[in-house]
Subunit: 466 residues, 2 copies
């Protein structure tokens, strides 16, 4: 154990207290009610960077929630990495399903429970603590390091690309290392090399201009719940795949490397349904087919539906409108705008007379992403994980969306790797989100070694930065 | 103008103040949050009965919300009527659509706006004020009068029939006069002679045992919104009529008397869609067809739907469950229990593997009702309305449900007529419910005369009281 790693071990309790303090801040980005939490979390990160020894720490005005920037530039001849993470979190509802309140971090069984602890507050705190350990013990880093922590990841990163664009000189780097992302399974080291894209839209069907009494008007008035459910039922085929003309346009053939990883993974379909606690479908697909669906196929999912009375008992009302929230995961070749257009066209074509239809996309969406399989940064990360975790990590795809990959490539000309220590079973985006503290400790050592190993990373020529 | 009518005119401002005070009480029966409002409203009615001069005033323990009872028995040789009404009201949401708060009564354009003012607080206060006027001026009523005001009408009257059953001797009467119900249109006097029945049920589809991240699980996990919307889409045919095997079983042929009234009404379909503020369906049915749908056909309406995320922006979640609230209006011949059974069977048959389905009926429901066309009480009521409003009232059916008709017949052996001064366009069960104060004043005179005219009503033999 070198002096940096010893420092991290000696200061572990303090690191844990920092993480708890961070998790107490309700930095939900999708809901304006939490605006104060967003500001407080951004300031928390900026102060923690300063305390760690970062220079040039500031809140970048993005036009939306601020991003936090800092840097430690020692020797211009060394390569420079840009660390990415996000301080915003998902909404905590349904609140009644949390065993302890979402913004009161609690430890049970060496896990820290809190909204955002796994996605992404725990993972992003690790590189900050590692930089501090290097500076306190060795007085310098083995490479140059910049860090950019945004506050809109969970709400679609609307202002992220313009912020990269405006700050491209300052953010210039040879490699992006994302602290966001997740290990695939707790029992098997993995590294993410591809992720699905995302588009989000709201659909509202309106009938009468006000709520009506279902006794008087039932049978003659338009019922927007009836119209909406009929419309939604037309969006999938009997295999639950999107059945929307144009939706699949441009999709590329499946990546054989990832199909190999899927084979090696021996994913257990029965265990999957048992784990998520749902009855088994009939017929049940095999594990490989399920993983292909999760990683390599596009989806059209309903995330929320609402209209009319939702309280206890009965209210005999015909509501004026009903709405659904949709997100689609995209795979290589799909264009976000085209997908939204295809869905909107299908809904308009099938919308019955007697109703009005409103389709509202949230932001521009993001394309699917994949890493070059020979990228030196990827190989360095793999060697650190193999050394620490005992076996070569599986190269996996990710069903979830990390739009930053394509964004950094486009605006900074830099490739990105995912080096996160959260695990995908940690209930981020659900009640009782947690972070394994064993992975918090492993992540501290892993980042320490990764920074050392990246000292030999090739530097990009400035002209290669687009 | 006789002395009773003069008394009512002289004390109109005080009557209006009473109505406002009554409407300030949030007596929502469907939601336990309003329990105090229920109790307060029951006590308000009891105190107002005592103040008016009623004897034997008490709150009847029903097993649910209390019913209020009182009586004025002068001369046992005179006929006895039982007045019916309900002090409970519909939930006020959506709150943001009210121009003034639902429980802060406000007068605009000779209308009183408040939740419950039209259904049924205004109409039920009228006979109480009329009894008071008789007792203050003449010291007696022209007939014997009992009154029963329940507190569960808007939540399905679960305990009403057992209460009638237990109190059948005390409630014995020759005719029931309901202050609940509504005139059909503001421009044309009408009297309701039939109403549709009602059943209510909640349906929930559950997939996984907890909410899941739609990135990781999208494509492989069950989505209960998808399953629910597909199920609901199977419940109606392309004409928006219920397409559930067994749903229509037992339905009797349409009543020709009411078809005649529908013809006379010359209902304007274009005006209807304009009034409710909805785009016109295509093809548009004629007005007569629409009225047949409202009055004489059964319905299966979705009153509310919910599941997953409903806040601003996006939450990439696959919810654990999704639910819908359904009510059906029933016509003559349909049995409530059979209808629920038919829907549950259809849903179970069509529910896909991989989900669990829960169907929960609310109470036993109620059958459709119709009045004997030659009932002396009906003829008396018609003559009063014709005298006061200038033309013979139209005999109309009611799309909404007034389950009391069948209940009084079954438990007391007494027929019921509807003598209400609310109008069906007064947005009961919607935001900005109001009551026309002109009808409040007309109602006071009409009830005064009706009590006089019913003095000659035939008395039932005690043996005829079942
Ligand atoms: Zn994240
Ligand atoms: Zn009512």
């Amino acid at each position: 154990m070198n002096s940096v790693e010893r420092y991290l071990a000696d200061n572990y309790e303090r690191a844990l207290a920092d993480l708890k303090a961070f998790c107490r801040i309700p930095s939900v980005s999708t809901d304006p009610v939490f605006r104060d939490g967003i500001q407080e979390a951004a300031e928390f990160v900026a102060n923690r960077l300063k305390k760690a020894g970062f220079a040039s720490v500031e809140l970048l005005d993005t036009g939306g929630h601020p991003a936090v920037y800092g840097e430690v530039i020692g020797d211009p001849t060394l390569p420079t990495i840009l660390v990415y993470g996000h301080y915003d979190v998902q909404p905590p509802d349904p609140l009644d399903k949390w065993m302890t309140p979402p913004f009161e971090p609690a430890i049970r069984d060496d896990r820290l429970y809190a909204r955002g602890v796994s996605d992404d507050k725990g993972p992003l705190l690790i590189p900050i603590l590692v930089v501090e350990a290097y500076l306190k013990t060795e007085g310098r880093l083995p490479i140059n390091l910049k860090i950019l922590i945004e506050g809109e990841e969970e709400s679609g990163s609307e202002h992220f690309e313009p912020t990269l664009e405006r700050n491209r000189d300052r953010l210039a780097c040879d490699l992006v290392v994302s602290a966001d992302g997740a290990m695939w399974r707790p029992d098997r080291p993995s590294i993410t090399v591809a992720s699905r894209g995302l588009v989000a839209l709201d659909v509202t069907v309106t009938g009468a201009s006000k709520d009506l009494h279902s006794g008087r008007h039932g049978g003659s008035a338009p019922n927007p719940i009836r119209a909406l459910t009929k419309l939604l039922a037309s969006l999938h085929d009997s295999d639950s795949r999107a059945a929307v003309p144009g939706f699949m346009d441009g999709i590329k053939p499946l990546d054989p490397t990832i199909l190999t990883a899927i084979d090696a993974a021996r994913f257990d379909a029965n265990a999957y349904y048992r784990d998520i606690g749902s009855p088994k479908p009939d017929p049940i697909e095999n594990g490989g087919q399920l993983l292909v669906r999760q990683w390599l196929e596009p989806t059209l999912e309903f995330n929320g539906i609402y209209g009319g009375y939702q309280g206890p008992g009965t209210k005999t009302v015909i509501p004026s409108s009903a709405s659904v929230k949709i997100t689609c995961r995209l795979v290589a070749g799909q264009k976000p705008a085209k997908v939204v257009e295809a869905i909107a066209r299908h809904l308009e074509t099938n919308s019955p007379a007697g109703y009005s239809l409103q389709v509202e996309p949230h932001g521009p969406g993001s394309e699917a992403f994949s890493v070059d399989p020979n990228l030196p940064g990827l190989l360095a990360a793999e060697s650190v994980l193999e050394e620490l975790l005992g076996s070569k990590p599986l190269r996996v795809a990710m069903g979830a969306t990390i739009p930053i990959g394509t964004a950094f490539r486009k605006h900074l000309g830099a490739e990105a790797i995912f080096f996160s220590f959260s695990t995908s079973d940690e209930d981020y985006h659900a009640p009782n989100e947690f972070f394994r503290l064993s992975n918090f400790r492993t992540g501290l050592i892993a980042w320490t070694r990764l920074l050392g190993r990246l000292a030999g990373h090739p530097k990009l020529e400035p002209t290669m930065r687009l």
